[in-house]
Amino acid sequence: MKPKTKANNTLIHFDNVSKRYPGGHTGLSNVSLRIEAEEVVFLTGHSGAGKSTLLKLIGLLERPSNGQLHVNERNLSRLKKSQIPYHRRDVGMIFQDHRLLHDRTVFDNVALPLVVAGVGHKEIGRRVRAALDKVGLLHKERSGPITLSGGEQQRVGIARAVVSKPPLVLADEPTGNLDPALSEEIMELFMQFNQVGVTLLIASHDIDLINRMQKRILTLNKGQLVADTKTEPADGGE
């Protein structure tokens, strides 16, 4: 299996994918695109353009109505229901509203993906602290999420998404509720994860911020992919 992965670096492959909702609303229509491993890709467009739909299809929150979608060499159109949890463990998800469990501590929130995957007790402690350290919240591990600021809560969400070291992280408007300085910080954090090999797909409508990052930008409009601009990084790091 391994050589195959090496030969084919495509992590996400949309082949003519459409998503229609019951009632006639179209989420995505005939989208084709490839995202390579270790890429950082921004996804932009007006609200309702299909950004969230695209992310939901990758995380298997929804199934495509038409077309083929491969993520991590899994054919998501055909993946059995019982296999969905295992697919999601390979995809870290970050949400605008954080989606933290408010009756548990920061530590327990971040530990959740490891607990779910059946990781041993000691290993959990080690990896959760490493992830919290990375996002700068190690000193808050015993706090409840509700006592944290919006930016801190988002960082807990990020720590939770990366703690199990998934190859792919999706973020839906991760800076949507944050001021520019905090948004910048969060983006900086994302780039650090990218440097250790994590592929990132970030949906955002903050055009200024995205342009400053100098990464690939996918633009959606009314469910269609209307632009795919690749900005070569100035330092040529790849």
Partner: protein
Amino acid sequence: MAVSKRLLNAPKIWLQRHAQVALSSLGRMVKNQLATLMTCAVIGIALAMPLGLHVMLGNLQRISGAWDSGASISVFLKQTVSDERAAALAKELRLHQRIEGVELISRKSALEEFQQLSGYADALEALDSNPLPALLIVQPKADYTTAETAQLLVRELKLLPDADIVQLDLQWVRRLQAITVIAQRAVVVLAALLGMAVLLIVGNTIRLEIQNRHAEIEITKLIGATNAFIRRPFLYTGFWYGLFGGVIAWLLVAIAITLLSGPIANLANLYESSFSLSSLNLSTIFSLLFGSSLLGLAGSWLAVGRHLSAIEPS
């Protein structure tokens, strides 16, 4: 190496996880003490009813069993049989393998007793001869005291040429036993109905719990939790509800027995009996707790199966 180490650790991690889930679902229940206590009490009361009736029936059977074994067979001999012949017959019967003992009431002593008790002494004086027959009271051996085997003995005694009327005074004991059998059935039916009630109580409680934790379930599914993982804490919660309900039922019945035992001992005294109310034995307690835990588990399984799959993240 890493793989084999992981495999070796797997059962340990599995156990660890189960223990953790069991404890954390217990902790969650303790946090909402009042609601938990009320649910457990309802389960306990529902289970205490059939349990209490079962204990009462057990006692009733003990009493009627004692009466049954105390039952003796009255053999009225023919008028023509003399007291000497009756005594010889009694002696003969005492050697019978199914007979424990024989009490002889001779014609003479029967007459004396009758004169004493009836007040017809004068009338009896006027008679030429003793109108009363001799009576043998036959006590069957312990192995032959059930209604059926005693009946066999009755048939055998009837064949005696000297016997006139052979009576087994068991009719009412048998009726009581028949009633007991009906009552036993009724307890089984009641237990089944109330067991179903417990199933529904636990199921409904778990359903509410699932609704309360809707957001949590959604998030856990997003993170890649399998259905089994999400199910587990609810199943443990159901198990605990059942177990604690069982413990409450046990306590309720034990208290009821303690409260009743004094007056019943009093009553037994008045009947010159040493009867005392028997309490719950270990095997009953064990089956109660096992059964109630199983009911709790089954109830939560029903709720979880129906409601968890309906929650999908969006």
